[in-house]
C-alpha cells in the first residue's frame, strides 16, 4: 500500500522552492515576448510570399507555434534532472535507504515545479495575446481531447526524461548527451515546426516516433487537424508509448539501482 501523503508534501515543497526564484520566472515570461514576436514576424513574412498550405492558414500556424511555446513552459521542467545530480554527488545512497519510491519522489517533485510554471502560462498567454491572435480549441470535444492528450504527453515526457537521466547509472557524465536528445526531440516532437512540414517518408516516420506524443499530438487535436476516429487513434498511440516507456523506465531503474557506483570522496 503506497501512502500518497508524503508525495503530496514533496510536490508542495517543490512548488514553494520554485516560487522563491521569482526573477527566473519573470525572465522566462520576458523572453517569451520576444519569441512570440518572432513567431508573428516569421510566419507573417512566410505566408505573405508563398501559397498557404490548404489545412494550415496563417492564424492556425501562429496558434500552433504560440500554444507550443506555452506548452514548453511546462514540458521543459525536468524534475528527474535531480537523479543525475544525486548519482554524481553520491547522495543517491542515502535516498535509497529512505522508505520512499525515488521515481515517485521525482515525479511528485517535478509535478510541484510544473504547477508553479503552469501558473506562468496564464500571464504569458495574456502577453502573447497582445502580439498575436490565438485561436480557441476547435470545439468542446477538441478541448477535452486536448487536455487528455496533454496529460498523456506530460507523462511520456516525464518518462523520456527519467530514462535519459537513468543513463547516469552507467556513464555518470550525461549532461551533453541529454542536451543532444533534448535538441533533437524539440525538432522531432513538433515543438519548433509542425511535423507536417517534413518531407515525404521522413514525415511519416517522425509522426510515429515517441517524440510526437509530447507536442505534436496535443497540438494537432487543439487545432482540429485530427478529428473523430483519428483523435482516438492518436490518444491510443500516446498511451502505447506511455506504457512502453514506463516498462523501459522500470527496467532501467531496477537494473540501475543494482549497480549504483557511489563516487568516492
Amino acid at each position: 500500500m503506497i501512502h500518497l501523503a508524503p508525495y503530496l508534501q514533496f510536490a508542495s515543497k517543490a512548488f514553494q522552492r520554485e516560487a522563491t526564484y521569482r526573477v527566473e520566472v519573470l525572465s522566462e515570461i520576458g523572453s517569451l515576448v520576444l519569441r512570440v514576436y518572432l513567431i508573428r514576424a516569421l510566419w507573417t513574412a512566410l505566408y505573405a510570399h508563398n501559397p498557404a498550405p490548404p489545412d494550415l492558414p496563417l492564424h492556425a500556424i501562429i496558434t500552433y507555434s504560440t500554444v507550443a511555446l506555452l506548452l514548453s513552459l511546462i514540458f521543459e521542467v525536468d524534475g528527474t534532472r535531480q537523479l543525475r545530480e544525486k548519482l554524481r554527488l553520491g547522495t543517491i545512497a542515502t535516498d535509497l535507504l529512505k522508505p520512499i519510491s525515488i521515481p515517485g519522489f521525482l515525479f511528485s517533485d517535478g509535478l510541484g515545479m510544473t504547477l508553479l510554471h503552469a501558473m506562468t502560462v496564464i500571464p504569458s498567454l495574456l502577453i502573447a495575446l497582445l502580439l498575436v491572435h490565438v485561436d480557441r480549441p476547435a470545439g468542446a470535444g477538441a478541448a477535452a481531447a486536448f487536455l487528455a492528450a496533454f496529460a498523456l504527453g506530460y507523462a511520456v515526457n516525464f518518462l523520456l526524461n527519467f530514462c535519459m537521466n537513468c543513463v547516469a547509472f552507467w556513464t555518470l557524465e550525461t549532461f551533453a548527451l541529454q542536451l543532444v536528445v533534448r535538441w533533437l526531440s524539440d525538432l522531432l516532437s513538433g515543438a519548433i515546426i509542425p511535423l507536417a512540414f517534413f518531407p515525404g517518408v521522413f514525415q511519416s516516420v517522425v509522426l510515429h516516433l515517441p517524440f510526437a506524443a509530447v507536442y505534436s499530438t496535443p497540438l494537432l487535436i487543439y487545432l482540429g487537424l485530427l478529428r473523430g476516429q483519428q483523435v482516438g487513434h492518436a490518444l491510443l498511440e500516446q498511451l502505447a508509448w506511455l506504457l512502453a516507456f514506463a516498462a523501459l523506465a522500470a527496467l532501467a531503474w531496477s537494473r540501475g539501482r543494482n549497480r549504483v557506483v557511489v563516487q568516492g570522496g
Binding site: S31, L34, A41, L46, A176, P199
Partner: protein, 270 residues
C-alpha cells in the same frame, strides 16, 4: 604590468590548460562536439523544413538563408572560442567571485578572457566547414573582395558579440540580477539573426542594425555578397563591409563603459 612577452605567456599557458583538459576528457569532448552538431543541425534542419514548404522568406531562399546562418556561425563561434567567459561575468558578480580578479596584478578583462574553460575549437571547425559549403551552395562569387572581406567581417562579428556581452557584464555591476537582459540579448543574437532582418518591424530592425548591431554580423554582409536588393534598412549595398568598423566602434564604446563600471564597482566594494 609586465612585458608583452609575459602577457603572451599567460595566454599560452591558458591555452595549454585548455588543450590538456580536452585531451584528458576525450569522451566528454566528443559528447560536447555531438551537442554542437545537434544544436546547429537542428537549427538548420528547422530552417530547411520550413523553407521546403515556403520557398521564399522575404525574397530569400534556403540556399541564401544557409549562407546567412553560416556567416553568423563563423563570427559567433570565433567569439565563443576566445571570449566566451566574458558572458560569465554576471555570474561571477552574483556569486561574489568577481572580486578576486580585482586584486590580481593583471588587467581585469585580460584575466577574464584567459579563465580556463571548456571552449574548444570544435564549433569553429564546424562553422568553417558549413561556411565553405554554404558559400558554394548559395553560389556566392569567391573573388578577392570576398577573400579579403570575410575575415574582416568575422572580426567585426566577434567585436560586436564581445561588445554586447561586455555591456551586459558592465550592467551587472549596477544591477546584480541581469538574467532578463541576458535572455533578451541571447535571443536577439541567436534566434533573430537566423532570418533576414527585413521581416521585422521597423523598431526591431533599428535595434538589430544600430543599437545591438547583430545585423552587421551576417545580414548586411549577406545582402552584399548575395546581391540582395533589400528594404531592411540597407542604405548602400556595401553597408555590410563596414562590419569591422561597426565592431570596432561598438567595442571601444563598450570597453569605455566597462572601465567606468569597473571604477564604480571598486568604489562600492565592501
Amino acid at each position: 604590468m609586465g612585458s608583452t612577452r609575459s602577457w603572451l605567456g599567460v595566454v599560452a599557458q591558458a591555452w595549454r590548460i585548455r588543450l590538456l583538459t580536452m585531451l584528458e576528457y576525450k569522451a566528454n569532448f566528443f559528447m560536447w562536439f555531438a551537442f554542437t552538431i545537434a544544436y546547429h543541425g537542428v537549427a538548420v534542419a528547422a530552417l530547411g523544413a520550413t523553407l521546403y514548404n515556403f520557398p521564399s522568406l522575404a525574397g530569400w531562399n534556403f540556399r541564401e538563408i544557409a549562407f546567412l546562418y553560416a556567416l553568423w556561425m563563423l563570427g559567433h563561434s570565433t567569439h565563443n572560442l576566445f571570449f566566451f567567459s566574458v558572458g560569465d561575468v554576471p555570474v561571477y558578480v552574483q556569486e561574489g567571485t568577481f572580486d578576486r580578479f580585482l586584486v590580481r596584478p593583471r588587467d581585469v578583462l585580460f584575466q577574464i578572457v584567459t579563465v580556463p574553460n571548456q571552449q574548444w575549437p570544435d564549433e569553429l571547425a564546424l562553422a568553417i566547414v558549413w561556411f565553405v559549403f554554404a558559400t558554394w551552395y548559395a553560389h556566392v562569387a569567391v573573388n578577392w573582395v570576398f577573400l579579403l572581406a570575410v575575415p574582416l567581417i568575422v572580426l567585426g562579428g566577434v567585436l560586436i558579440d564581445l561588445a554586447v556581452s561586455l555591456m551586459v557584464a558592465t550592467v551587472s555591476f549596477w544591477f546584480v540580477r541581469v538574467d532578463t537582459l541576458r535572455w533578451v540579448v541571447m535571443s536577439l543574437e541567436q534566434e533573430f539573426t537566423r532570418y533576414p532582418v527585413s521581416i521585422y518591424t521597423r523598431g526591431v530592425r533599428i535595434l538589430m542594425a544600430y543599437v545591438l548591431p547583430y545585423a552587421f554580423m551576417n545580414y548586411f554582409p549577406a545582402v552584399y555578397f548575395l546581391h540582395k536588393s533589400d528594404q531592411g534598412l540597407t542604405v548602400v549595398p556595401w553597408l555590410g563591409l563596414l562590419a569591422p568598423l561597426v565592431g570596432g566602434v561598438w567595442f571601444a564604446a563598450a570597453y569605455g563603459f566597462w572601465r567606468v563600471g569597473l571604477n564604480r564597482y571598486q568604489g562600492t566594494g565592501s
